[in-house]
Amino acid sequence: MTHETLLQISSIVLLLPLAGFAGIIFFQKKLGRAAGYIGSSILGINLLLSLLVAYQKLAFYSDAGMLQWKFDWLNLGSHPITIGIGLDNLAAIMLIVVNLISFLVHVFSLEYMREDIRFPRFYAYLGLFTFSMLGIVIANNFLNMYIFWELVGISSYLLIGFWYEKDSAADASKKAFITNRIGDFGFFAGIMILFFTYGTFMFDDIFAHIGEGHIPFDSGTMLTLAGILLFMGAIGKSAQFPLHVWLPDAMEGPTPVSALIHAATMVAAGVYLTARIFPMLTADALLFVAYIGAITAFIAATIAITQTDFKRILAYSTVSQLGYMIMAIGVGAYSYGFFHLVTHAWFKACLFLASGSVIHAMHHSMHHAGEHHMDPQDIRNMGGLRKKMPITYLTFLISTIAISGVPFTSGFLSKDGILAGTMAFGQLSGHWFIAFSGFASAAMTAFYMFRLLISAFHGQPKTHIAAHTHESNKLITVPLIVLSILTFWFFYSFNPFDGGSGWFYEKIKTPATVVQAEHQWGFFVPYESSHSHSSACCGEHITSPAEEHSHSHEKDTHHALNKFEEALHHAHLPAMIISLIVAGLGIFLSFSFYQFKIFNPDGVAELIKPFYLLSYNKWYFDEIYDASVIWGTTTFAKLLALFDLYIIDGIVNLVGWFTKVVGHFIGWFDLYVIDGLVNLTANVTAFFGLVFRKFQTGRIQAYIVMTIIFAMVLLYYVL
């Protein structure tokens, strides 16, 4: 297939869901349930087409960089505004991710949303979302990116608020949209800077300009600022600290939506954006990105430990994992970051869909029992679901293992790479906090995920509702199975311990930075910067195949093009060991708490009187020590949760409140001062009229006197 054909197929892939959306939204009533099948088949076709495109791209045009199709969109005289679509390896893989998950969610929802009164509209919105998301994926310029960026925002808004009768859902959707808008504001500001400086939105043109040393306002700071502003879009969309607050609330949407949008695809758009702009990020901007990611990963993980709502745990987990990816890109572990995006998409989608399956089952059970007040999403109401819902359990288990970073899973491969990256970064730059955060989060992830798994599926049912659940039907389980299978290692690399040796790493190479050396980390600057400049144009393609070839001979199998790559390679082994340890520790603790009840999970209460226990059970010293660490961690997590709830969220609310107050004041000001001035003018005018009117007393002699007085005054002035 030629470039053109590939791009044409990509356009079809892009437009099909839109057609689905339009078709369904206009004929909602007529279509009824057929809408679901139409939507699913469209996505099925889309999936096949995207597989074809991705295969073609990766197999035959892997080194061709970004295949682009540009056209003039608006011509304002001076120079046209060009937009278009582009397809590179990154986009090709994303196409599969988006279409596959979207397809599975479509199928899943056939069952899950069966009884919803707005069933067709749900599919219409899903179509709209898929269209928008694909638009982001194959954008080759900032304008397209921003357009579709907003469109996914709106689809997310519509889907979170799908059950808009619930105030909480409506609130959540609004919160999500507005929080995102704050991020988008930065994103747009960044775009403005770039457009102002370069007069184009095209990635390749902009990067080429930067590569030539042409930077905004001739100031490295401004380039950093532009990068950070662009990244603000990612902060919003990918729910990074401090804008992460919307994501947990977004769980008010239907669970398939959570799986599709708020776990696998849309929230990953931020990561995708960060990956796209990676070449133009300066050292400071990268550091900012890395720290944001690290902080997010850590905070979210600590919070997840204490949550009890099934979906919220997953939501915090998502935030944490997104932080991971952002952090990865920030430290320069670009390929692993994107790798994690893909692997995370599978297992997190699986986890969410499994949670959907559970909730669905709980709902049914509640419906049968005539119980309406229980929270079907609270893990304290579950337990023992393993036997009732074996397939759901199994897939959930596999995904949990994957997210915890256990070997032989995709999660291990990607996470390990990221951790190696953070270590390499720490080593080269001295910023060790990032690595620390990475490992800590890894441990906590393992802990809370297993806690979730155990509480929900293991042990005995805690309520009669949980006891009477049934496995969901095939429409639900098949997607779960597909997704859980995708978490095995061999899809990505035949070596289960080294993601770097697989095809994935081969195809997704870290693009060389185009930023001038004085604004960039030394260890990111390519060894042969003269070469990279000439070809630094589009995303990942910096090195010509010939160069690559020569590198691969020099530097082992890993064609390191800068110091960082080398360090990364060397950090692999220690990172793997540490990560295995922390993950194992997490899992172990989790099991000992919740499965084997070595410690009563409610033991926190007993720890209030720790001296007695301490003296009585001396030889349990280690366990007590562990317990105190757990206590400390949980307390800290609680504190952070409170922090999140009251401070971060509080700040958000405070800003909201403040804005409202200012709005109130302005409203008042407008009504009484500005308008008051207008009315005052009128009143003063009228007042003078009133005064002059008083001269007209009706008595002729008074008139005469006044005439004479006036005439005298006039005389006085004339003389």
């Binding site: 009117r693 008595r699 002699q701």
Partner: protein, 102 residues
Amino acid sequence: MEIGLTHYLVVSALLFSLGVFGIVTRKNSILVLMGLELILNSANLNFIAFSKFKGLNIEGHIATLFVIVLAAAEVAVALAIILNIYQNYHHIDVDEINKLKE
């Protein structure tokens, strides 16, 4: 003492002032009319005096004649109006006739 132009003018000015004063202070409409007559007469006096003392043409004298005639006409009309007022109000107090105002 020779009686000159100045004396006539002073008398005329006094007459004028008295006229204005009368118009402004009298309540009775008839008295107000008399005030008006004083003003006209002061003008007449001026005309005659200027005509005589400055050796001017007879324009002044003619003017005086016209003013006298007009004064008569004016008084005739005014008295008719005052009569009508009396029929409507049963008094001719200008101060009290103040329904039209502001």
